[in-house]
């Protein structure tokens, strides 16, 4: 899961300090694994270096948290690209997908597009697996079926999320 893309997307809704970013991230997505302070500043430094964020204000005083980060145009484009591209269908994808949906909702983008894009990708892979099944032997078929059932579970989750987007939006943007 990409902490950097998430930070970028969070910054899109307003400039923020590293400290605040960490807390927002933890509150929204890091229920199991809060991001470490070290990783926060390392990530922000990397983003700064690649020109996706800038420091729009430095407050007087000591310590690393004096800088306020803001997203650049290049950063917005990057977020856009990230949200629009499907994740490679793989197990335990929902963390990323959820993050994407929530961030799309936060940034006022059509979250349903995220889901549809992902569905198309899932189905593409499922089609491949299905046609491989038609030519392969039983072992192939069984392996393909395992993958298919997992992908199907993802898709069901996508479907369910799509059906509850309005509810989710209300909760996320509260």
């Amino acid at each position: 899961m990409s902490v950097s893309k998430t930070f970028l997307a969070l910054l899109e809704s307003g400039a923020s300090h590293g400290y605040d970013l960490k807390h927002e991230y933890d509150a929204r997505f890091g229920t199991d694994r809060p991001v470490a302070y070290g990783q926060v500043y390392a990530t922000l430094a990397r983003l700064l270096k690649s020109g996706l964020v800038t420091v729009d204000a430095v407050e007087p005083g000591e310590g690393p948290d004096r800088k306020r980060y803001a997203i650049t145009e290049a950063g917005v484009a990057d977020v856009e690209r990230w949200l629009a591209s499907p994740e490679a269908p793989e197990p335990y994808l929902q963390n990323v997908l959820y993050t994407k949906v929530a961030l799309a909702l936060l940034s006022g983008r059509p979250a349903i597009d995220v889901l549809d894009t992902q569905r198309a990708e899932h189905l593409r892979v499922m089609r491949e697996l299905t046609s491989r099944k038609a030519t392969g032997d039983l072992v192939d078929q069984l392996i393909c079926d395992h993958a298919l059932f997992h992908l199907e579970a993802d898709l069901r989750w996508l479907e369910l999320t799509a059906a509850r987007l309005d509810q989710l939006a209300a909760q996320v943007t509260r």
Binding site: D116, T130, A163
Partner: protein, 238 residues
């Protein structure tokens, strides 16, 4: 049809219009106060298998019914083979369904008092094929779908999987150009569902029939060449 409508139709279904067997553009259909379709589009090329996906009540069955000329949409147009279905008489649409289309429904929907073989020969006889010839061709198709042994049984006496295969045979026996399948595996377990889908798609590809496959199951949709999603009566291309 205006150019902008054409363009919308094209973008919505993600395919160019040219060479399409069926083009549904911007369909709306209301049942009472509920809008089943609210600007849905669907293009189908010859020999192509398209899955129509979406949650229950999204309007996917209505889209299928409109595309098949069973229902006439309130607005929008359905073109089959360069002919506007909306402008056809009921008689002509019935004829179209008899000769060019085949249907598979959930739970088979076989005529319960006819034997399986008679069910398969039914569409042929509706088109005026003689009894003996219809029976012979029905037999062939039952064999092809591996349910030859249930030919003389009544639908109530066979399993769901067998019944659905008989239904597939019934849909394909007239060698239609399009097969409309509405949740063909809805009532089957995975294994039977898989088998029915394999047989259906294989038979359709053999006879170069296009298939419109309405399903809410991703694994069934995976048998299609592409999918169209219907949500709240609108199609979303992928």
């Amino acid at each position: 049809m205006s150019a902008s409508q054409a363009a919308r139709g094209a973008t919505a279904s993600g395919r160019p219009r040219d060479g399409n067997l069926i083009s549904c553009t911007n369909l709306t259909k209301r049942f009472g106060s509920t809008a089943a379709l609210d600007g849905a589009s669907l293009d189908l090329a010859a020999g192509e298998v398209v899955a129509v996906m979406g949650p229950s009540g999204s309007g996917k069955s209505t889209l299928l019914h409109c595309a098949a000329g069973i229902l006439v949409p309130d607005t929008g147009e359905v073109v089959f083979d360069a002919e506007q279905i909306g402008h056809m008489s009921d008689r002509r649409r019935s004829e179209l369904r008899r000769t060019e289309f085949g249907f598979v429904f959930q739970f088979g929907r076989l005529v319960p008092e006819l034997s399986c073989a008679e069910n398969v020969s039914l569409p042929l006889r509706l088109s005026g094929v003689g009894r003996a010839e219809a029976a012979r061709r029905a037999d062939e198709w039952l064999q092809r779908l591996e349910v030859h042994e249930v030919g003389r049984s009544l639908p109530g006496e066979i399993s769901g999987g067998q019944g659905q295969r008989v239904a597939v045979a019934r849909a394909l026996v007239t060698r239609p150009r399009v097969v409309f399948a509405d949740e063909p595996t809805g009532a089957l377990d995975s294994l039977n569902g898989e088998r029915v889908m394999q047989l259906l798609t294989a038979a359709a590809r053999d006879t170069a029939a296009a298939v419109v496959l309405v399903t809410h199951e991703p694994r069934v949709a995976a048998y299609a060449d592409r999918e169209v999603v219907v949500r709240d009566g609108k199609t979303r291309a992928s």
